[in-house]
């Protein structure tokens, strides 16, 4: 595998000068503080996402509208029909992408692990392009089921190809099968788009990834898949810690390796597929969030997974709010803001001396 396992810091290692008990206590306190801070920040981001928008509303007005549902003013419509669903969707999608990224990096043991690596994004893109070019679908609500079906088909194909080799589905064959199949699907997408500028005209707005224009109905449609995916991810976390010690060790400790892998892959597919279906391909969250969170949780997945959910939601909501503010009266799509804000942040994180490796 790409990362030598010797560089990984097992959860039990402590600096030699410190006694194990105080080191463990300090680590737990750091994790608890980090989790608490994330929770507060997510709540703040939710509040900001409801209060701030293209149309300036006074915080008092927003509060009044939120507490009194009998009001049917224009402000009430903006808050309840636009901002609240958008915030809820941002929370769900951000959490899904963060968790899917953490699972993906854990299962492939590759720091480039990203939910898109399993063919989710490529499959969804291919299905959406087919829907646009052949069926003339042209609204975000129309894309949802095509994108979801494409994401599922892409992941299943990647898994079957990765597992078909003599060695079974190792992280390397999975990652290679994923990136290769993705490249093939993108080539087909491009073949359609190069020869059909009408499809390009619709596709270019889907592919940036946005929360705008997605109503409450889309949030309700993807909610069951996201809940199921989050539950499976939490179930998978302890097994992932065992797998991190190597498949042989995990097997020796009584872990059913194939079961753990299968649960993880189903969770990744549900989460990333639902997120992509709802908002289009949003690339950066799944990659950055686990690296950022690992800096205070360490590599233990039972901490990493829940914290990645909160950090993913925080990142996506923050980027969405920024995108509404910087180009008034227009908006910059959340996918673009994420990459442009997240990129420098991520580079700074990587350049820190003691960033935790996988």
């Amino acid at each position: 595998m790409s990362v030598p396992s010797a560089t990984r810091t097992p959860a039990g290692t402590a600096a030699p000068a410190v006694t194990p008990r105080t080191a463990a206590a300090r680590r737990t306190r750091r994790r608890a503080l980090g989790t608490l801070a994330l929770l507060v920040l997510v709540l703040a981001a939710c509040a900001a996402s409801i209060a701030i928008g293209t149309r300036p509303l006074a915080p008092g007005t927003v509060w009044e509208v939120l507490t009194d549902r009998s009001l049917r003013t224009e402000e009430a419509v903006i808050v309840w029909d636009l901002r609240v669903p958008r915030t809820a969707l941002g929370l769900m999608v951000g959490a899904s992408l963060g968790v899917a990224g953490a699972l993906m990096q854990g299962h492939t043991r590759n720091p480039l692990g990203d939910p898109g690596l399993l063919g989710v994004t490529a499959g969804a893109s291919f299905a959406v392009v087919l829907a646009i070019a052949l069926l003339g679908v042209a609204t975000p609500a129309g894309y949802v089921w095509f994108a979801f079906a494409g994401a599922l088909a892409g992941t299943v194909a990647v898994y079957l190809l990765g597992a078909a080799g003599r060695g079974g589905a190792t992280p390397v064959t999975l990652a290679l099968a994923g990136s290769t199949l993705s490249a093939l699907l993108y080539a087909l997408v491009r073949a359609i788009l190069v020869s059909d500028s009408n499809s390009l005209d619709a596709f270019r707005f889907w592919v940036v990834g946005a929360l705008a224009g997605r109503g409450a109905d889309i949030a309700w449609q993807v909610l069951p898949f996201i809940v199921a995916g989050l539950v499976l991810a939490l179930v998978n976390a302890p097994a992932l810690d065992l797998l991190g010690m190597g498949e042989d060790v995990a097997r020796g400790l009584g872990q059913r390796v194939w079961l753990a892998r299968a649960v993880g892959l189903v969770a990744i597919t549900l989460l990333a597929g639902a997120a992509t279906a709802a908002c289009g391909p949003i690339a950066f969250v799944g990659l950055v969030v686990p690296h950022a969170v690992r800096s205070f949780t360490g590599p233990a997945h039972r901490w990493l997974v829940p914290c990645a959910a909160m950090a993913g939601a925080l990142l996506l909501l923050t980027a969405d709010v920024v995108g509404r503010v910087i180009a008034r009266p227009g908006e910059v799509q959340v996918g673009i803001v994420l990459a442009l804000l997240g990129g420098p942040f991520f580079i700074a994180l990587v350049r820190r001396k003691r960033s935790a490796t996988l």
Binding site: G165, R166, L184, R351
Partner: protein, 369 residues
Amino acid sequence: MTATVETIRGTTPPEPGGRPRGRAVVLRRGPFSARFRWRSVVVPLAALVVVVLLSAVALGRGDYPIGLGDVLRTLVGAGEAGQRFVVLELRAPRVVVGVLVGLALGVAGALFQTFARNPLASPDILGITSGASVGAVTAIVVSGSSSVGAVLGGLGVPLAALAGALGAGLLLFLLAFRSGVDGYRLVLVGVAISSMGLAVVDWLLTRAAIYDAAAAYVWIVGSLNARTWDQAVPLALALAVLVPLALAAGRVLGVMQFGDDTARGLGVRLAAAQAAVVLVAVVLVAAAVAAAGPITFVALVVPQIAVRLTGGSRPPLLASGLLGAALVVLADLLTRTVLPQALPVGIITAVVGAPYLLWLLVRGRRTPA
């Protein structure tokens, strides 16, 4: 030549991270000896033969087919004027650019993948091609409406792409540098640069008029259409310098694979060697992208195919380059002859290369990256 040739079967020592297959051959002559495996010689030679054959076919095929004999006669200076024009002015530059771009991308991909010890570390993931796309798309889309765009538009798309690629590569190197460039950090910084570049490209595409967006999209895919000697000659000169440098760097890479401390202990000046490897690879990609656009996938897939064919422990540089050339020329030949509608070559490289790599994966030779 009185060199002795010994064939050792099954006694090759295990190399880091992998079990080499096939026969090893040792050449001894006086105090000198060299050891290599048959496959690491046969594969590049076979690839070279394939490139030559494909190029010959590519010179003859097209809307105006010319027989192989006439092609050869034209190449040595004879032949009638019409055929000379078609072969030497229309098809030869295109074939030459195809061969050179494939060579550059294959070698650069092998350098990056070996250096980062990661099979996914291709110039596309590291942000160099997305830097080029930012330059080119800016030049195409906003050349009339802003000062930056006007400057880039004045340079022309190829130079804008070259500037973008070199800029992204330099940024990658500087940001990943911290008393040396470590492969892990390089890959993570690269993926961030790549995401930022792609976001800018996506944003520009949503802002552009659909006509400009379509033109920019064709460039992003990568194409060999209408290439002339103006692109082929500078690219050939660049590669004449860069490929020998890359092959020299390749020898150091073999030692660096054992880890930083071992390499230092064996006398490698690590920071200088790392800088050389990364910069050579960046400039190779930039030259290729300026000539033909970001033909994605060649740099990712070809080194992985090459390592599976040669059976070594890491992607071989020369074999990767030659297989890259073969892939690009083959893809271009297919777009011009077999397909009903001419598609850009960047699409066909993936359609041809991806199933082949998938087949190699499924066949299940477990070769580490």
